[in-house]
Homo-oligomer: 151 residues x 4
Amino acid sequence: MASRPWLEQYDQSIADDFLAANDLQVGLSHLLGIQLEHFEPGELRASLEVTPDLLTPIGNLHGGTIAALVDHVLGCVLYPHMARKQWAATTEFKLNYLNPVTEGRLVAVARIVNMTRRTAVVQIEVSNGDRLAAVAQGTCMIVDPKPKSEA
Amino acid sequence: MASRPWLEQYDQSIADDFLAANDLQVGLSHLLGIQLEHFEPGELRASLEVTPDLLTPIGNLHGGTIAALVDHVLGCVLYPHMARKQWAATTEFKLNYLNPVTEGRLVAVARIVNMTRRTAVVQIEVSNGDRLAAVAQGTCMIVDPKPKSEA
Amino acid sequence: MASRPWLEQYDQSIADDFLAANDLQVGLSHLLGIQLEHFEPGELRASLEVTPDLLTPIGNLHGGTIAALVDHVLGCVLYPHMARKQWAATTEFKLNYLNPVTEGRLVAVARIVNMTRRTAVVQIEVSNGDRLAAVAQGTCMIVDPKPKSEA
Amino acid sequence: MASRPWLEQYDQSIADDFLAANDLQVGLSHLLGIQLEHFEPGELRASLEVTPDLLTPIGNLHGGTIAALVDHVLGCVLYPHMARKQWAATTEFKLNYLNPVTEGRLVAVARIVNMTRRTAVVQIEVSNGDRLAAVAQGTCMIVDPKPKSEA
């Protein structure tokens, strides 16, 4: 097992604030009904309900919903490991769709693979019941409160 | 310039059907307000308006919206090059976010890079005014009407 | 844990043939000194020695060596799960470099995330001592002995 | 067309130094016979000869060679746009293989899609004769001469 020094920098109170704000979510995460469920050092679990509103005409969940959930947890998992004033800017990710989804809940688990003061790489598994729906891997930049001109 | 044999198989009537169905869109593409704008052989342009509903608390467009738009055009660009009974299943994509988006329209242009009878690779540029917001690259499987058991 | 039906189709004699052929390797895997070390259902471990020949002028292992190792194990892990006549064609992968490598051995572990009769998704961890050097994720097509014209 | 401010910062003398050093290449680029051919603002063309040494037992070029060429040009294209003391560290890339390669030359063209003072996104097309062999997209960090502890 590789060493994971970032695990020692974890602020549960930030995680608790994110969980408490589930009902206050705005924007895309609200539209999609994303619920943050559980934080622990290096890991976040979140989910959404597969409602008829999110299905394509052929009855499958639109891949874009899975991609949006991936993007959301990719950043959120980092906050308890960052200073309160910083924010996480996703710079890139890649995902593979593995099985179609038609109903039930979509559950994403994000795990930090590597983290420095300025960047982090995260892997995400998205499951639906006992099947994997997608796996993903991406990068965030950790940005200080006053963004530089090149940000 | 590489040869592009798939350009010779293009059915404008399928493209026209997609354009005519803009107002009938359901699911995620309706939630996000995605409008298909223009098809030509090997290419599709689509867009959505950056509404306040899609912004994060810090005022940027949620990356998940961009990812969902990418996922949507990645499949749609292929239909006029396929038989009417087939469908395009996105198997994977990767995107890089380049500049934050706060207002205006988000315009995606999808171009087919390679296409066989069973698979296609597509690149997508997403712009916002005169700036690139994201670039992406992904794969679709082209599936016959009666999906096989392993699909 | 998601169900993994492909684990039940595993032919150790194919794995043994790959291991026995380590000294007969040709082409890129020979140039780079890749050694296949251990197969088990759904998993393959392989490694190479970081020789001075593979370093860049600033003394780091060239990322291309890591990418080549990733590409190699991405396909090889599948063979014991396939029929003897088939072959695995990598269609895409993505990797994130996590830490620079300067000496020692580079060890890759490939794990099958999903596998059907025609396609497989694999994740790879590349480590160097107790540090991760890279993580990767990619797709193979499983091709029958007589490739179709569109292959 | 998106604005490309980085094109105005281009030092042809750095490009010339890279071209002059083709015969002095060490490490992986020497093993693979990579030749840098032409630099212009935002773009680099490089190639290698598909020798029998690089083929797999079934006669195709090993995908790892293509991946290594992609990794190499992804960083090199940036140097004429950077200060002489800086170096480009590839952080991630993704590639799609499009057509098998068996002989001839492999030609990669890398184009800068976005570049700031600290990071750059590059797209690469790899062709073989009149066919595309692969397309790729990746990110580099631009690192100052004295790397920080977290680098």
